[in-house]
Every structure is written in C-alpha cells, then in structure tokens.
Assembly symmetry: C2
Homo-oligomer: 178 residues x 2
DNA sequence: TAGATTTGTTTCAAACTTGAACCAAGAGTC
DNA sequence: GACTCTTGGTTCAAGTTTGAAACAAATCTA
C-alpha cells in the first residue's frame, strides 16, 4: 500500500493545530504555574475531582477522565497530596482501589486559580472564535476523542461500553451484581 | 471585573479539545517511539529541518518554527546529534549561532518513519473529518496560533513583522543591512 | 572604543513523564 | 480451596522538560 500523503489542506491544518497546541499548552502552564504553582495537568486533576460526586474518584476513573496514564496520575496525586490539596482514601468495597478526594484546601486553591485560568482560556482561544467555530471545535474533537477512545480497550475484546467499571467512588457499594 | 465563565458550549468544546489532544499526542508518541525510537517532538524537529533550504536552520529559528523553547530544542538536538541524525555547524556570519543540519542518515530515518506517521495522523484525525472540517480546523488554529504569536514578542515593542531575524541558515550572508 | 545592552545558545538542578515490572486483591474455573 | 487470569495501583530507572543562570559574541551609545 503506497502511502497516501497529506493533501496541502490537511498539511496546513495539521501544522496549524500543532503550532497552536504547543503555544496554548505553554500559555496554560505559564499562567497556572504563576498563579497556582502547578502545571496545567495538575489543575485539571483538581478540576475534575471538584466536579465528581462528593469530590472523590477512584484513581483509575480519574486517570480515565483526564486522559492520562495511571502512573502519571500517581505522580500528580502524590504531589498534590503532599501539598494538602488532595487526600487518598481506601475503598471499602474493593481493597485494591484508592480514592482521590479533593480537600477543602484543594477546593480553595482551585477556586482562587479558576478565574485567571478561564481568563487565559478565553484570551487565547474563545475570544478569537465565532460561536460557529466553537461548535465546530467541539464536533471535531469529540469525534476524534471518541475514535481514539474506542481503539484503546485491549484489542477487539467485545467490550461492552455500557456497564463497565464497578465504580466505588461514591459512598454507595457497587450494584451488587450477584 | 467578575469572571466571565465558559458557556456550556465553550466548556464542551474545551473539554473535547483537551481530551482529544492528550489522546492524539499519546498516539503519535507511541507510534513514533515504536517505529522510529523517538518521541513526536523529535520527529517534528527532523521534519522541519528536512524542509528548510539546504536542510539547515539556526537553533533559534528551528525552535521558533517548532514552537518550543530554545532549551528544549537544545536537548532534542543533542540527542539527535548523538544518534547521528543531525549535525551542528557554526554559523560563519554570526559566531554566536549554531546551525542544526539534517544528516543523510537523519533524512533516511525520517523517510522510513514518515509513512507510518502519516498513517497515524490519518487514522486518528483526518479519516474522521469531512473536507469542510479540515478547513475549519485550519482556520481555527491558524487564528489561535497567530494570536499567541503576536503576544509573546516582548510586550509592545513596535516589532516590525517583516524584516526580522537576520537569518544565517542559508549559505548566503545576511542582506548586509548597512 | 570602552562600557552597557541585546541576542544566540548552552548548562544545570529540579520537576515531570514514560513504560516496564511488581504487588496485592478480586474473579473465574475446576 | 488451589490455580489462573484480570484488575487497581504503585515503584523505579531512564528519559524529557522547565526556567533561571551563565557565557559569549554582536550591537549600541556616548
């Protein structure tokens, strides 16, 4: 199969995407390092926790929502825990799992940092887009993310998308599948 | 000024973008590490060099085109040089500069890796987009990149966009501005 | 032209990421 | 219940990134 190279349009799109992505991540990291003393990724961890029921999530689920590896998350949570922004708890129903919980201090830090962060996201991204483009952005990357998602799950296991993950994060025990 | 939070549409777009971006970069890194023994960034360095006149570029210009910091590039080039894919040369016109040159072996490695890389870019991104979306992608990120570009240049210097960079990369001396 | 400033690049230590290996606990099988 | 397989999480060493500091060569200025 001879390679189907990128068309000129695709090339331009790809280059623009990569350039903007590097610049965007740099801007986010700079701002958050400045205002909250942490890289963007760590902020995302806090943000995702803050929206979970009871502000708690199993490590694996958290890694899944943030789209990073478990080991990367382990590092992040260890650091955030050292700083008192997150706490680890054991899961009562599955002794293997550990639950990351956003502490009050973590919530406070998050709330202090959020306005600046949003400001940066606006200034670098949304202020430059028309409402239509916001929609296009969502459509494009939702579809891309979905594609990459459904690929990963250990090769062709007839993986059923609904009913996965026994989820311990809430204070309720799992649905008692017996 | 009370914070203007993101609208639901913007939130969705931002999340989708971040998720897809993490997944995309992971996919690129995995594929290139696998097939070429280097992370995506290093591949980009080689690729950009291969397109420069005489396959050579000043470190600063290279960093600028790849959109990374100079120190990050120093590391990358050092590694690529150790592997014989890139060579450093001194600039005759400006003894401070060093020029990164793509070696024949570097070109060969690049050519071997390119098909797989393009395949990945297609499979993860372009195969999921309509031609219209490719255009939207380009427009959105071109404008974002431009915005972030024009911000960086040391605050409000009446920086003239044309006639910047004395450029030594070619074998010609600079335009003799005297 | 000495002195001050800017520009191009590297260095270095601390921080972060990767991926394979490891450990423990839940599930499935006989 | 012993065996095997899978799942949840961490560990560890090697690799990469960051940002401030250090250098050296150009450029500017009086």
């Amino acid at each position: 199969m001879t390679t189907r190279w990128l068309s000129p349009e695709e090339q331009r799109a790809w280059r623009a995407y990569m350039a903007a992505t590097h610049l965007l991540e740099d801007a986010m990291d700079r701002q958050l390092q400045q205002d909250a003393g942490m890289p963007h990724l760590f902020y995302s961890v806090l943000a995702n926790l803050s929206e979970a029921p009871e502000r708690r999530l199993r490590m694996t689920d958290l890694a899944e929502t943030v789209k990073i590896t478990r080991s990367r998350l382990t590092y992040a949570v260890t650091r955030l825990e050292r700083d008192g922004l997150v706490r680890r708890e054991d899961c009562r129903w599955d002794k293997r799992s550990s639950i990351a919980v956003l502490t009050d201090e973590g919530m406070a830090v998050l709330e202090r940092a959020a306005p600046g962060h949003v400001e940066t996201v606006r200034g670098t991204l949304f202020d430059r887009l028309t409402p239509a483009q916001v929609g296009q952005l969502e459509e494009i990357f939702t579809s891309v993310a979905r594609g990459l998602q459904d690929e990963a799950p250990e090769a062709g296991t007839g993986d059923v998308p609904w009913r996965r993950r026994s989820s311990c994060p809430s204070s309720q025990p799992p649905p008692a599948s017996s």
